[in-house]
Amino acid sequence: MKYRFPAYLYTERAGSGTPSLTPLTPLILNPMNRTRFIWLSSLGGAALLSPLGWHGCTPGEEEVLLAVPESLLPICDRETLIQIGVSYLEMQPGEHQKSMLVKLLKAKAGDRWETGQKPLEQILAEEFLLGETVEVDGWLLARTEARQCALYSLINP
């Protein structure tokens, strides 16, 4: 499954040689539920059938949903997310498979992520607290969000 990031979700900075600084439009900077809605909308109709998670999704849809690094959406554009993912996989070649990343992400979230018992924000906060972090392209990230970017980069080569 391949999709293009909707053009209205990000802007190109004129003359920029550093896409990592390219901001998103204010549209994507609204509360997480709206962000999530925009993202999921961009993923296609099938995903919308299960907007709270991957429960009941096909394997392909599951990957897509897990690959949404919601925490970083307010600050990173598509290219940045992909670059983070690519760089993470260079650092962790053992995780360079969608199935491996899905397994790791699901193992982290258990069955709680999609049911809302333990929001992603809490998982990430706990990872920061426990030092389960990783530096990718200078970004200091929770490992889970780095893996989400990695999966996202594999889905969007």
Binding site: R13, L29, S71, P74, A142
Partner: protein, 511 residues
């Protein structure tokens, strides 16, 4: 009384009770502290009341090691010294800065912060600062918009700053020139400290005029207050009776030169706009502001140096030219102008920046002490200036601890932002490789010269003792940041004025 030394007949002998060499923040603060007393204070300034190229040239000298500002432009050589263009940032050192920290080689002062506290408060007077308290709880009541970022105070604290606009030259010229017990001599360039035959006390200092005339000054007590580079230069150059220079029996004079590393280190991307008034500084408007600092126990746990983090809006920060690049003209006036021009260009570019989260993203700037390093040092060149004084050479050398401390500082801050769900941090390129201990040429320094006559009770480990007296010489003292064994995170002026006032009180007891 004021005298232009150039008008005196050749070989004039000037006498007083206390001779202060240098009329910058340290020297003037001390002289003010002696107003109205029975003792006669001789205050010597090598320059006049305004900038003079022929005088300023005396500060020129080569550098090596880490890229640095031209020495000639890094200090002002006239009455008032570098307060003539300083930024006025003031904050006291932390208690940890005075302690011997096992993870910081050569750290530890022979005094603790409580010894300086009364003088910090007193230093607020010449610096024309507000109330002395620097704790955040005090300023939270004073500043209506002082809302702190919601970070764990056990890890990250708010280090408060106040801002002085005191230009010591115009502020105190008349006061000192009209004082009955202060003899202010301008164009009184000291080129040699002359000791007695046994080299146990200073007998006199020798003044050199550009026209060839020389004069002498005798006093019971002498205080060197010329700044860390010039103090070391004078001690090293005074080698007629001690081959290595006065106070240099253990090859320490000029060593341990320290600066503050002031460098853009990371980006902070908040998920949403944050109230940043507390962390914002506007020239002549901000009474006090904060920078983020790590709690002492966190520094100890991670074995790092003490530093702070300030915020610059990223649209400004990403276009800003490093000071180390824009302040490279040897003429301090031109260097300053160039730096200001670059700043105006930066503001213009920043105004064109796009919408989006970049508008509430920030460049994180480190301000951190430099680890004491004996290889970072001031030495003498064979070339001499127009007064016949050997020029100073600076070899500025940083260490792996400096680099690791900065990186760790942001790892911790990034972790705290993550825990609180406030945003993410992105390290700048130069900080990403853990194994790289080097610093780029764009590394800024604060124009803060410290540590060349470090304080230690053991003459083998320090040039001056806890009272700032040069070891082995009964009546020679050093005032200012040259005495710092470690450099703390804050700009040095408040502490150097406090230390000078402490020395002043000590000398009053002896005079």
């Amino acid at each position: 009384m004021h005298t232009d030394t150039r008008t005196l007949p050749d070989n004039t002998l000037i006498e007083g009770d206390l001779c202060i060499i240098g009329a910058g923040a340290a020297g003037i603060s001390m002289a003010l502290d002696w107003l109205g007393r029975p003792e006669k204070v001789v205050l010597l300034e090598g320059g006049g009341f305004e900038y003079e190229e022929a005088i300023q040239d005396s500060y020129d000298g080569p550098g090596s090691g880490q890229k640095y500002y031209p020495l000639k432009a890094s200090r002002l050589h006239y009455f008032g010294g570098t307060t003539g263009h300083w930024a006025g940032m003031c904050s006291p050192f932390d208690a940890i800065d005075f302690r011997a920290r096992p993870w910081v080689p050569h750290s530890g002062w022979p005094i603790d912060k409580s010894a300086l506290d009364p003088y910090y408060k007193k230093a607020h007077s010449p610096l024309q600062l507000g109330p002395y308290p620097y704790d955040f709880d005090f300023w939270r009541q004073e500043l209506p918009n002082a809302k702190a970022l919601p970070l764990d105070p056990g890890v990250v604290s708010n280090k408060m700053w106040q801002y002085s606009e005191a230009r010591f030259g115009p502020l105190y010229r008349d006061t000192l020139a009209n004082a009955h017990n202060i003899a202010l001599y301008t164009h009184a360039k000291v080129v040699e400290l002359v000791a007695n035959e046994t080299v146990t006390q200073l007998k006199e200092v020798r003044l050199q005029m550009l026209d060839g005339k020389t004069h002498r000054v005798r006093a019971r007590q002498f205080v060197l207050a010329c700044g860390a580079i010039q103090n070391a230069r004078l001690l090293l150059a005074s080698n007629q009776q001690a081959a290595a220079g006065l106070g240099n029996a253990h090859d320490l004079v000029g060593r341990y030169f320290q600066e503050h590393l002031e460098i853009a280190s990371a980006e902070c991307w908040f998920f949403k706009p944050q109230p940043m008034s507390l962390y914002t500084y506007t020239w002549r408007k901000t009474r006090a502001s904060a920078e983020l600092a790590l709690a002492e126990q966190i520094q100890e746990r991670h074995q790092i140096l003490n530093g702070t983090v300030s915020f610059t809006p990223l649209p400004i920060g990403k276009y800003r030219t490093p000071k180390m690049q824009s302040y490279q003209d040897k003429d301090p006036r031109k260097a300053w102008q160039n730096m200001n021009d670059q700043w105006q260009k930066t503001l213009k570019k920043a105004a064109e920046v796009e919408n989006g989260p970049v508008q509430w993203a920030y460049q994180l700037n480190t301000r951190i002490e430099q680890a004491p390093n004996p290889e970072s040092r001031v030495t003498l060149e064979s070339e001499r200036d127009a007064f016949g004084l050997p020029r100073a050479k600076l070899h500025w050398a940083l260490t792996a601890l400096d680099k690791r401390s900065i990186r760790t500082l942001y790892e911790i801050l990034g972790q705290q932002l993550g825990i609180q769900g406030l945003g993410r941090i992105r390290l700048n390129d130069w900080l990403r490789d853990e194994k790289d201990t080097g610093f780029p040429d764009s590394t800024n320094a604060g124009w803060h010269h410290m540590g060349t006559t470090r304080m230690h009770e053991d003459p083998k480990k320090g040039v001056v003792d806890a009272n700032c007296k040069v070891h082995g010489l009964h009546n020679l003292y050093v005032a200012g940041s040259a005495c710092y064994p470690t450099s703390g995170a804050p700009n040095p002026t408040l502490t150097l004025v406090a230390l000078s006032l402490r020395l002043s009180e000590y000398l009053k007891k002896g005079c």
